[in-house]
């Protein structure tokens, strides 16, 4: 399927706090933004890692949760009508002959943009893989990190590993479909919703599934097909669990991912930039927030906001080399206030 390219001023990779504030700063300069994020929601780390944790170092907000900060940034960006593309990972980034950039996602979206802003934090969120030797050989065949279709697990001997909502929810949802269901977790406490934990315990009491305390240490099988695992209990003893499918649910982690393949200079998985434009080694590709590095860099949200403001000026000049930029304040400029919808 060939998708028609979306033509825009700016593609922002990452809808975390820095990407969201970049929409505002670019919007003041009349630059239209599309944001692409691998998560199913805005906020980046603020949404995925610590939505409920208080943040104390945002200027003028003595305390704010990651969730609320995200909401407020969305509200601030809204007058500029940014378009959000969730559950999409940018895979390819190439420069076109006319100086613009073509951006392609894993879901088949194609953008053509005058500038690209990488605001990808620690990279893309990916499922955490348990450190079990040889697990790679089973992935995609009998070890899965997500459930795309429940039918794929019909009549399977499923073993789920983990203690969070994903682990418990899928234990409960797949139990009626699977031939057998077993859950293994390192302790008797769960971080999943108490209701799910109660349901799981009820299924165990009814004899419909089994729960094991311990940690998987080895996988057994042939040619990618699992036949069982060895687990270590909390008393240090080993035991065997028979299964043909393993679903490990250990949350998400950040990996640099495809950014490494875009021909940009990198330093220890970060994108070196200058501190005037926050531009990468490729003119027209900018990097702000946790993903960039420069002398004195601090990984603070407020630093990312500053970087977004300076980047926006440089991005505008890059996209409009002949235009004259007049620096204006939102407090006094009627034209900026019109853009914000307040004048």
């Amino acid at each position: 399927m060939t998708q028609e390219a979306i033509s825009t001023d700016v593609v922002i990779i990452g809808a975390g706090p820095c990407g969201l504030f970049a929409v505002f700063e670019l919007g003041l300069l009349d630059m239209k933004c599309h944001l692409v994020d691998i998560l199913d929601k805005p906020g980046g780390q603020c949404a995925e890692l610590y939505p409920e944790k208080p943040i104390y170092d945002i200027p003028a907000l003595p305390v704010v949760s990651g969730h609320e900060l995200t909401e407020r940034l969305m509200e601030q960006a809204a007058p500029f009508s940014p378009e959000y593309h969730y559950n999409e990972m940018v895979e390819e980034l190439e420069k076109l002959e006319d100086g613009r950039f073509r951006v392609k996602t894993d879901g088949g979206l194609v953008f053509e943009a005058k500038v690209v802003v990488i605001a990808a934090g620690g990279g893309s969120f990916q499922p955490k893989k348990p450190p079990i030797p040889g697990i790679d050989a089973y992935e995609g065949q009998s070890v899965f990190y997500s459930v795309k279709r429940m039918e794929n697990f019909r009549n399977k001997k499923v073993l789920i590993s983990g203690g969070g909502d994903s682990a418990l929810d899928w234990t409960i949802n797949l139990q009626p479909v699977a031939q057998s269901m077993q859950l293994i977790h390192r302790r008797d406490g769960f971080r999943a919703a108490p209701d799910s934990v109660n349901k799981m315990h009820a299924l165990v009491e009814e004899g419909k599934m089994q729960f094991h305390l311990g940690q998987i240490t080895a996988l057994h099988g042939d040619n990618g097909q699992l036949t069982g695992v060895t687990a270590k209990g909390n008393d240090g003893s080993d035991y065997e669990i028979e299964c043909d499918t393993l679903l490990p649910f250990f949350g998400l982690t950040m990996k640099l991912g495809p950014i490494a393949n875009w021909g940009l200079n990198l330093h220890e998985n970060l994108i070196p930039v200058d501190t005037g434009k926050f531009q990468s080694s490729e003119p027209g590709i900018f990097a702000i927030g946790d993903i960039n590095t420069y002398p004195g860099k601090l990984k603070l949200i407020l630093s990312g906001f500053h970087e977004a403001a300076l980047m926006a000026q440089a991005a505008f000049k890059y996209a409009n080399p002949d235009a004259k930029v007049t620096f204006q304040y939102t407090t006094s400029s009627t034209s900026l206030q019109k853009k914000l919808g307040v004048a």
Binding site: R186, R187, G189, M254
Partner: protein
């Protein structure tokens, strides 16, 4: 005051520690490639260490959010998050091993 750090290759290092600092911060500020993605908010689990069993009893019990993070990062019996361990004189000589998940690697 000091801590003994066993790195990914099994090498032991003695690190000068400061009272009131988190063990994660001490490891990081000595230049070790500890991931510590969230910066000490007990929100990522990538500063995991394995505490020498002889020292485990001297530490406070992990709180719920630390246990949650250890769950998600394949913690073992002696695993702790080094951002949740604050140096006190009683911990002088604390011996910890960096967990694999805590070691920053090239892409």
């Amino acid at each position: 005051m000091r801590i003994i750090l066993v790195d990914g290759k099994g090498r032991e290092r003695e690190l000068e520690a400061i009272e009131g600092w988190r063990v994660m911060e001490i490891i990081r500020d000595h230049g070790f490639p500890i991931v510590a993605e969230c910066g000490g908010a007990c929100a990522c689990g990538t500063c995991q260490v394995e505490v020498d069993p002889q020292w485990a009893a001297k530490l406070h019990e992990p709180r719920g959010d630390e246990l949650d993070m250890l769950d998600q990062n394949y913690g073992g019996e002696w695993s702790r998050l080094s951002c949740q361990l604050i140096m006190t004189p009683e911990l002088d000589g604390l011996r910890v091993r960096l967990a694999d998940v805590a070691i920053r690697k090239a892409a």
